[in-house]
Structures are given as C-alpha cells and as structure tokens.
Amino acid sequence: MDKKHWQSFGELNNSEAFQQSAKNEFNEELPFEADDKGFMETKTPRRDFLKYLGFSTAAAAVAASCEVPVKKAIPFANRPEDIVPGVANYYATTYVQDGDAVSVVAKVRDGRPIKIEGNEASPITGGGTSARVQASVLDLYDGARLRFPTIDGKEVTLEAIDKSLAEALPSAGSVVLLTSTINSPSSLEVINQFKTKYPTLQHVTYDAVSYSGILLANEATYGKKAIPSYRFDNAKVIVSLGADFLGTWISPIEFAKQYAVGKKLSEKKLDMSKHIQFESVASLTGSNADDRYLHRPSETGAIASALLAALGGAGKDTITDKDLKAAIAKTAKELSEHKGEALVVSGSNDKHVQVIVNAINEAIGAGGKTIDWSSTNNARKGVDGDFAALVESMNAKSVGALLIVGANPAYSWFDAEKFKAGIKNVKVSVSFNSKADETTQLCKYVIPDHHYLESWGDAEPKSGHFSFLQPTINPLFKTRQWQDSLLKWSGATADYVSFLKTYWGAKVGGENGWNKVLQLGVMGGETATSKVLTDLNIVPATVALSSAAYNAGSLSAAVDATKAGQTGIELQLYQKIAIGAGQGAANPWLMEMPDPITRATWDNYLIVSPAMAKTLLGIDLDNNGQADSYEVNPPKHVVEIKANGKSIKLPALIIPGTHADTVGVAVGYGRDAKVGRATVDEHKNTVGANAFPFASLSNGTVSFNVASVTLTDTKDKYPVALTQTHNIYNTDQGNRTEVMKELTLAELKKDPTVVLDDREEEAKPFGGLANFRKDATIYGSYDKPGAKWGMSIDLNACNGCGACVVACTAENNVAVVGKPEVLRFHDMQWLRIDRYYSGDANNPKVVFQPLMCQHCDNAPCENVCPVAATNHSSEGLNQMTYNRCIGTRYCANNCPYKVRRFNWADYSGADSFPHNQDELNDTVHLMNDDLTRMVLNPDVTVRSRGVIEKCSFCVQRLQEGKLKAKKESRPLETGGEGKKWDLKVACQQSCPTEAIVFGNVNDKKSAVTAHRSDNANRLFYSLEQLHVLPNVSYLAKVRNREEEQGAEKKEHA
C-alpha cells in the first residue's frame, strides 16, 4: 500500500513552512492588537480590562434583567387539516434549473421549505442530489429576486403589464420565444397554444453550455437529434475524452449513481469497472479515474480518431507523443477486450469529434448495452447555430418581439456584445427571469417567474420519465409563472394549474391518479431498485435497452476534419460543479463550498500545471522556499490572459493533473451585482471574471477550447481563500496523512487481507486488534445499551462531488462566513472533503475523503473540557453543548481530526447584543436578513459567538427517528435486509452514490453493520493507531490497476 499521501506541495517536500504550520495548529490570527511593549503598556492594560469586565457584567445583568419579555402565541385562525405546527411536512416536487430536472422532496416546516432531500422514488436519481440541488432552497429566500413586474424599470401591476403587452405584442411583427432547455411537456403544450395566437412564433432554445456537438452528430449518424441514455452501470470499461460526467456533464447525479455501481467492490467477487480519462485540466471525473492521461485540448479529435484506428475502424493515427500513443494502444486493448461492456464518452462540443466517438461506440458494441436509445435525455436541447442565427436576425432588425424564459445570453453568449446590440433593435422585449440578470436588464418588460418551490409544473428529464412540481410555499413576491403569462396572452381563460391538471387528467387516471403522482412526485421509467416504489406496491414497467440504426456516412468527413494538436499555450474553459454556467454564483452556500479539486472558495482563478508554474510564475515546487511562499501566503500571482483580442486578469493556482501547456478557467463568474450580493466581494469588486467571451463559434457549435493564448504575470497579487491546508496538524504521535488507505485491485487480489494486516501491525503496541478496545481508556468502558450510532463511508463510491457538504450546511444551520473569514481560517463547515494526492507530482492519483466529527468512543476532546461542555452519550455520540461552552478551544486543540469549529464572531446573529456583527463582512449580513433566515432549521440551535461547534451526527434526526419508532411501539430500523429507514442523516440522504451509510451498529442486521462486516477486509478507521476509537469507519480506496502501488512509486522515484 502506498503510505505517501499529500495534501499540499509543502507536505510532499516536507518543507520548512509546512513543518512550521503543522506545529502551529491554530493559524487564525488572534483578534487582539499586539505590540511589543509588554502587557501593562499595551493598548488595553489591566485596568481597562477590569473596567470592561465590570461594565460588561453590569450590562449583561441589565440586558438580561428582571423584566421578562412578553411573548405572543398566535394560533391559526383556521388550521388546515394536514398542518400541525412544529411537525414537518414533506412534499414531492422537482428541482428545475434550465434543462436540469431532479426529483426532490421538500421539507416544509410551518409553511417554509427549509431543506431539499432527494426523492427516493425516482428511477433516475434514486434519492441522490447534487450540491446545487441542495443549495436551491436558499435561492428561494434570495433578496436579489425581483419582487414585482416592471415596465422600463418601474413597478406596475400584472393587469397593467398584460394590458400593455396585449397592445404591443400583436403589432410587434415576428415574435421569438427564447428559452433555456424546456423539458416540461405541459409547458411545451402551452407554447403550442401560444403559437396558435401568434402563428409566426419562433421558439429558439439556448443553452449557455450546450451539447450541440452530440445532438448534431447523433442526427448525422443515428438520424435522431437527441442525447441517448448512457448506462455507466453496464460498462466494465469507461473511457472519457474530457467529459466531466461525475461533475457537470449532461446528468451527473444519474451518472454518478451508475458509476458507483461499477466501482463498489464486493468481497466475494473482487471485480470493478475500469475508468480511463483523457483530459487537459484536472477535473472531478479525471481525479476519480483509474488511469488519467493528459493532452492538449486541441488534440481531442486526433485522440478519438487514433482510438478508432486502433480499434480497427476508419480513423487515422496522427498522434506523435510517445506517452499518448502508448495510452491509446492500452485503452484500445481494454476496449476491444470488453466489447458490449464498454462505453466511450466525450465532452467535446465539436460535431466531428462526436461522430468519431459514435463510430468508436459502434465498434465496441455499446448500442443497446451501455448506450440506450429507448429513452433519450432531455437535459439540453439547444443548438448553438440556431441562436447564432437569431442574433444575426436581431441585428438585421427582423425580430419584433423577444420573450425570454431562463436564458441569459447577455452574460453567457461568447459574443454578448452582438446580442446586446441586437436586442436594442427589438421593439418588444420581455423577460420572465426571476432576477435582474444581464439579459433582463436589457428588457423593457419584466414579469419575474416563481421559484420552483412556489411553482406548479412537470418535467420530463428523460423521455418516458416524468417528474412533477407542486408549490411548497405561497409566492413570496408579486411574481407569476411564465406559463400563466403565455396562456393569458394566447387568450386562454384557464390558468396554468388547471391547464396542467387537464393536460395530465386522462394520462394519470383522473383526480385520484393526479393526487397519487403528485404525492409520489414521479411517474414512468425503467426498473427501479428503489425501495420506496416497492413499499408503495408500484411496479415500474421494464423497458428493454435498445440501440439505434447507425449510419457511418458522415464519418470520413469527420475524420478528415480532425487536426493534429496545436503548439503554444491553450486555454480550456470548464464549469465548476457548484457554480455551473453561473447559476450558482449568487448563492452563498455554493460560493463557500470548497471546489473539490482546488479547494478554493469564493473565487475564480487560472489553473496552471506545476510545469507551467516554473516558467510563467517562477515557482519551482521542488524548491522549498518557492513552494512555501506560494502555498503559505494566500495572495497569488495575478496573470493576464489574452486570446482572441480579449483579456482578463485572474490569480493563478497550481493544480497538478493539468497538462503542461494548458491552462483552465471556470466560466460562471464575473456576474452582475444585481444577480446577488454574493457576486461582489467585500471591496465591492466583481468576484472573478467572465470567461465566456473567450469561447468561439466553429462549425455551428461553440467551442470552449481556446488556442494561442498569451499569459503574462502582472506581478500583482490577489488573495485566494483556499481551505486545503487549514486543518493540517502533525504531532509526535503521527501525521495527519496516515488517515488514508489506498491500494490497487491487483494488490487486493493478491493479498485480500493487506489492509487488515496493516491495521494489525499498527495495533500491535496495544495488544493487537482483538484487544484494541479493551484497554483503550483509563476511564473504563461504558455500556451502550440501546442504539449506538455509527457511520461507514465507502471511499470507492465517494467521488468528492460535495452534495453532502451543502446538505450539512442546510440541515445544521452552519454559518456562512464569507471570503475574508475563510482567508483567516474561520470556515465553519462541519463536513469537509479532504483531497489527497499520491504518486506522480505532475499527474497524481487523487482520493477524496469526507471528514466530519468521528465521534470517538475515547475522545481526546472530551477530557480536556474544563466545563464538561463536550462529553459522551450512551449512544456513542460525542455531544457538544453550546450553552455550556465557554470557548477555551482546548477541545479543538486536542482533536486529531481537526473537525471542531469555533465561532469567532456572531456569524448567525444569535447574540442578543446589537452591533455585534458590525465588523463582519457583507456576506454575513446577507445571510442574516429576515428573508434569508427563513431557511434556518428550527430544530437546531443557532450558535452564538464564542462557542465551539461540530458535526452532531444530525442528532435532531436521530431523536426524531427514535421518537417515530417509540410512538409506533416498535424497534428502531436503520436499513438492512428487509428493513426500512426511520432516519437518515443529511449527508447520507444527499449522497448520489450511497457512499455514506449510517445507522445503529448495535443492531446486528442494520445497513451499517452489514456494510462493515461485508467489507471487513477493506475496513479501516482513520488514525486508528491514536487509539481514540472513532465511530466513523472507512472502506479503503481501491483503484483498478494491474501494478501494485509500491511498484509504481519506484518508477517515479
């Protein structure tokens, strides 16, 4: 097994600064002004201290004094039958953002949606979510949402705007409806009705990041302008040419779930899928790959072509790079050995590349096996060429009216200036967007749309799979669904709700059927393994996978069009998992979630490889001093990026796993301030810069690869809030890096007990594993008579996507602290996903480890607390009692996992004193207005200044689950053979791959016990040798590689 894992370059080289910072476990600056004059001469000498002390005691006594405030208890005037104040209701609905549609369940407490959970009845996601789905509930309470309709920026009533448009629209000339992808069948029907009133209506679909390449290629080769269903779960070999299918590509939640099926190991059958990734800039998917090869973005077509040639197809091999050539040969060998069990996908938006990929998939027999045409994916339907044509006709003054739903080309179209010029020629411009985004600001009429949690509707994310929306809260503002507007303007008398009911009426079997599908939230779909469906006695129809007729006609042209790689520096634009094409840029939860790869928060940056760092920035990572000054100081070199006559300036981060001559920039930043306060930093500057203008149109599709890029180091510095090195701490007893165990499949096959042996070796000083627990503590061991909580995390299934991080934030009222505080190491997230590198420093292997409080049975934090504010429960919980905590931080000091968080300031407005938050940054204030605070979970205390907090294993959910069982007078059930779930913790519920299993370990049949006992050979506890007896266990990461990890290490040494 490879013992050398590293989180930072300093750690890799064991540099001086790293040693220094590892010793200094609290890197936070103390909030006192210190000078060297000695205690008595400082600005706050002893007497002042006593004065303050006396004053604050007196003030506290007066503030909390004898007068008890009178509180009111106001009941309903007429209580609705199904609402009991204090009891949460759960409504099935659908998260809809542009083309993305995810079936979810909204938890509603006293009329407020406060948490989004995955809908376990969905055959597509099976209860999985993503960070953006989890964060979407915060968007509902976003203060930047438009609150009323406007004409020319002035507030008007809906009636006035209807009247004004009833006159303006018919006389405007040709009407164009510009939308982002709409996959709601009833909405498409609404558009059809609108068409009968305006027969010349043209419907253009625009996607900020489109899949035009795939759509056009499939039209050419299969005669279908659609995206098929990919079945990663049926693939033994997965080859991705730059497709980030676990993070941002088409349907990441669905793909992550399928991918995990192939990656989960069973001890009886040591067999897993092999994933080979070709990419240019380190991505989440590439980091999870078994083999990752780096190449230039311009080489994608050539690689696809060479791969086709190697498989005996009509491709041509123009690759000259020795390593790449070998990689392609090896990949071709794997693919040809697994025909019918292999899948090749490509993230390219070039039609020609996708045609070649289709040819490869035909050659390996993917159709009907790993590519299914019986159901097509409706996530993105836009074709870039259509929109480019619209921009042309707008500039030619041939568009009379433009109605915009969801689309925001003024920000995300590469030639936004041309669009902005064009819209000036449009007489009637109407925007239905819910915020004053870049495009809406240019429109005359604005009728803001509801948030999805306020809306009725339906969605068809994949053909034949339907998901339904129902409102979970009364509309907060004077907004209206765009469907209602279109219906009204087409002269219909019915509103959208009744339209929707009529539309579905017969299809779902009348009123009763409608209520049933609304309750379940989904309808249709292939065989679901979901237990919810079986519980409800619903048997989904089994649909056989099908292939499509293949036509190779366009292949030779496509192969001829592929060019050899270019020279010079290339830029690749990519999407971040949290921000997407800019949809997450105004959401504080998403902005503060560390990016899985770079671990940076709140910023956009330029990703450069270690090799380029040497030439561009003059930072040699092998040189201790240079690596340290880069890593230890938050300010990073600001680089000016020039290409296509445009230029932006961004700080540079060195990320290994990136091609030497390629740099990467994420799109989605540089948003207008009106989209939300999170888009500007504390100095009122825009966060990041918009990278969309670097894209270009070629062959009718937008290309996000940019050639001939000039980079210049501006010698300026800009601080980036990285969380990677926040929690490093070494002691004489052991190093933090030993938390990880990783091995190859070959190694595990050769010696199945290698991990167990390793643990046995570590436990030797304590009498081996068998006696490990016995003499662990001087306090004696206490019974856990009832439930004992435990968690098990499969590192093979975890891909680092971060859904759990945001779910935890939402469930537990975790404070958002803003960039200035993250820079000071004051980040508050209870759950973090650590990123570990190992192997080659230029193209390392990456492991992600979700780390939260380990709830140690022999917890080092408990016995150092002077006021017993943290102690152990009889259910194995490491309890944290905020009202007892006096903030000594001894516990955080003594925690080997560094998972305790200290409230340095009044981040959540929990303190009773006014002006306590005055010194804090805008972000904190943003999260503390009355509107945003509606998202708080009323079952979890909002922590005040000066107390420690940490993961509680979602104790509020544990208590609720136990109570449910008690009320029904039956034993608690936490999964397992034939058992239901009384409770799931927030991170577990959100996980798309079911990597996190939680439950009662005293129950010999619970899911968590089974997870541990079925995988006893891979099980380990992080830092087990410290003897703290954690209640969180991990399953070692196994990579599907032939060579042993050790052998490879020698190779690179």
Partner: protein, 440 residues
Amino acid sequence: MTHRRLAKTIILSTILLIGLSFISNTSLAQDGKALFNANCASCHKLDQKLTGPALMGVEDRWKGNRANLHKWIKNSSAYAKTDPYASALVKEYNGTVMNAFEGVLDDKQIDLVLDYIKNWKPTVETAGAGGAGAKAAESDNSLLFGILTLILAVVALTLLQVNSNLKKLSDDKSGIPAPEPIAFWKNKAYIAMVIVVLFVVGGYMTTKGAIGLGRNKEYQPQQPIFYSHKVHAGTNQINCLYCHGGAEQGKHANIPSVNVCMNCHKAINEYKGEKLFDAEGKEVDGTAQIKKLYEYAGFNPAKAAEWDASKARPIEWTKIHNLPDHVYFNHSQHTKAGKVQCQTCHGEITAMGEVKQFAELSMGWCVNCHRETKVQFKENGFYSIYEKFHEDIKKEMDKDEADLIEKGFKKENIKLDTAKYFNKITVEKIGGTECQKCHY
C-alpha cells in the same frame, strides 16, 4: 420543599392512576367512561346542555330503542332524514348535526357508552381545603422562627454588651487601667461580624436571584379572552387533546385555532355556570367572553348560517410557558411515548381559571423528573433494542428465583412481580439526562 413534595405526590398519584387503569382493563363501566370522555365529552354533558343535549336519560327519550340510537350515533345526518324525533333534534340545535362515529366506535363500544350513561348518577362535589391550610401554617412557622432568631440575636447582643460593661466595672474596681470604651458600632469585631453576615446573606440572595432570572413560576398573564380551563376541562370534562391535539403529534401542543372553539361555541353562546373570578378576585362575565370570541371569529349568532369561517382573525394569546432557544422540548415524546399526564407539568389545570405556569421549567426540575420517571420499558416495543437491560433483568430474576428455591419454595409456586424489575429502568438509565437529549 413543599413543591417538591407536591410534585412527588403528583408523580406518585399519576403512576398510581396509570397502574389503576391497567388493572381496570376488564372493568366495563370504566371503559364506557373513558370512551365517553374521549369521544363525547367535548360536546355533551350528562346533566347539562352543551353543544349537544344533556345525555342523562337519553334512552328513555329514544324509547329504549338502542338499535336506532346506534344508527344515529354512527351517521346522524343520514338517520335524521328517516326519524321525525331526530330531525326535530337537529332543528333544535340550529341544524348542527353530530359527528359521524362510523368506523370510530363499534357497536360494542357504543353499548358501553350507553351503559355508562344509564348508570351515571350526579355526585355531590366535596371541596378539599386541607392543602391551602397546611401551606399557610408553614409560612407562619417560618415567620415565627424569624422573629425568634431576631429576639435571640438582640438578647445575645445585649448580653455581650452587659458582659463587657461588667468586665469594665470589675477592671475599674481592681484598678486595671482600661482603654476608653468603644461604641459597639465602632467595634471592629462587631463590624466584621456584620460584614460577614451581610456578605453571606447578600451572596445567597444574589445567587438565588441570578439563578431565578428568566424563570417564571406562577406566571399568570392577562389574556385577550378570559378563557377558563376550569369551565372547559374541569366542569365540562373536555378532553385536553380535543383542543391541544398537537401534544401527541409533535413538538408543540398547539393552541387551538378559532374554528376549533367555534365547533362548540356556534351553539353555546352564553355562560350559565357557576360564577367566574379572575386572579384579582373580580367577577368575570362569561357570556361577554364568548362575545369576544365571536368578534375574532366574525360570527353573528343571529345569522349563524351565514358565518364565513375564512374571515376569522387569530387570537393573540400571551405565551406562558417559555423555554430558552437552546432547549429542545417535544410534547409527543412525553405524552405519547412516555405516557406522562398533562397535569404532571401543567398542574391541576382543571381547577385553573386563567392558566398560570405551574412548574418552574428549570433544568433542575426537568432532570429531577428524568431521574425518577420510569420508562414504558415493557409496554413499548421500542425498548426491545435495549438487549443489555433485558438480559440484566432476566439474570436478576433468575437469581431471585434461585434464592427463593434455596429457601425451600417450589419453582411452580414462585411468581415474581415483573413490574418490580422493569420499574428500575428510569429515563436516566436510557440516557435521559445526557446533554444532547435536549440541547442541539
């Protein structure tokens, strides 16, 4: 001390009551009473007209025809169409029909209720005034002790003074030069003594006051409507859960919404019971209070049929029981899972006019109860997961049995009282005093 004693008595009597209710499971009349209280008492009294008619002698009025009565109870609106007496009854009550009990009560249960009504006899209430007298006597005692202490202190002081004067005299006599006498208020020993006493007393009072900050035992604010629990829950025996149904469902017991009040008060528009008095002893006009309710509800008794419930305004009650934000309390945990009676924490609510806070609602008070209260260990299936405790109990019982056999008892004659063993499992034993049971 009295309160603790009182609490103990109440807890004991509650346990006794629970115990009794188990014993009496077979007793049919008790069952009829329970069914009556749970299902009928919110609208009917036996000897008095409420929302519905007084039920005493109901069978005579229905000419002893129980079959018809069954039909009426199960679905009154349907039956009223077939029977002239029933339809007249509906008319008499402004067209308000009785709830349908189809599927709620079966034939046997209806018979039990009817039997109970048949055998019921009005009782003469006896007032127990012992409690209050005992309390007064106790406070007299403490006053007595106080006065005695004061007198003794004065006597001691005087004696000390006399002693020092005598000493001075004797010293003078024997010619020992004595220092000038110091007035006792200048005497350092006295001053020190007074300071110590003041410090101890002051410290005690400050600490006590600080601990008591935010605690509001006996808090009895004036409410927008003088709502008497004594009248509703006491005299009229309305089940607590009829209005506070949330107590078994979730965190909050819930204050009923206006429409719940109006379920009964659509028909009851004047108060004719015994005189009502508020906390200051002033007489309250019950009918005026009902009028206030009508104002909130937007209800005009003269035009009852035209009432639109959706126009009602909520009543802004003053909250009495306030817990700090960092405390999690769930009613259903206590009432449904723990089977704790409402009165345990809310006091004798059936005797209160306007409600006052009965318990201290301090952490010590909570924890004390958690230490003493027994868990429904045997009754509730949830506790089967406490395998260790079940094993321990079995071991203990086996041991006791073995001891008895050793003493010469025959195995088949030994019948151990299982309750004795299960009663050892208190809330504390299952972790009920741990921090994160209430603070998270």
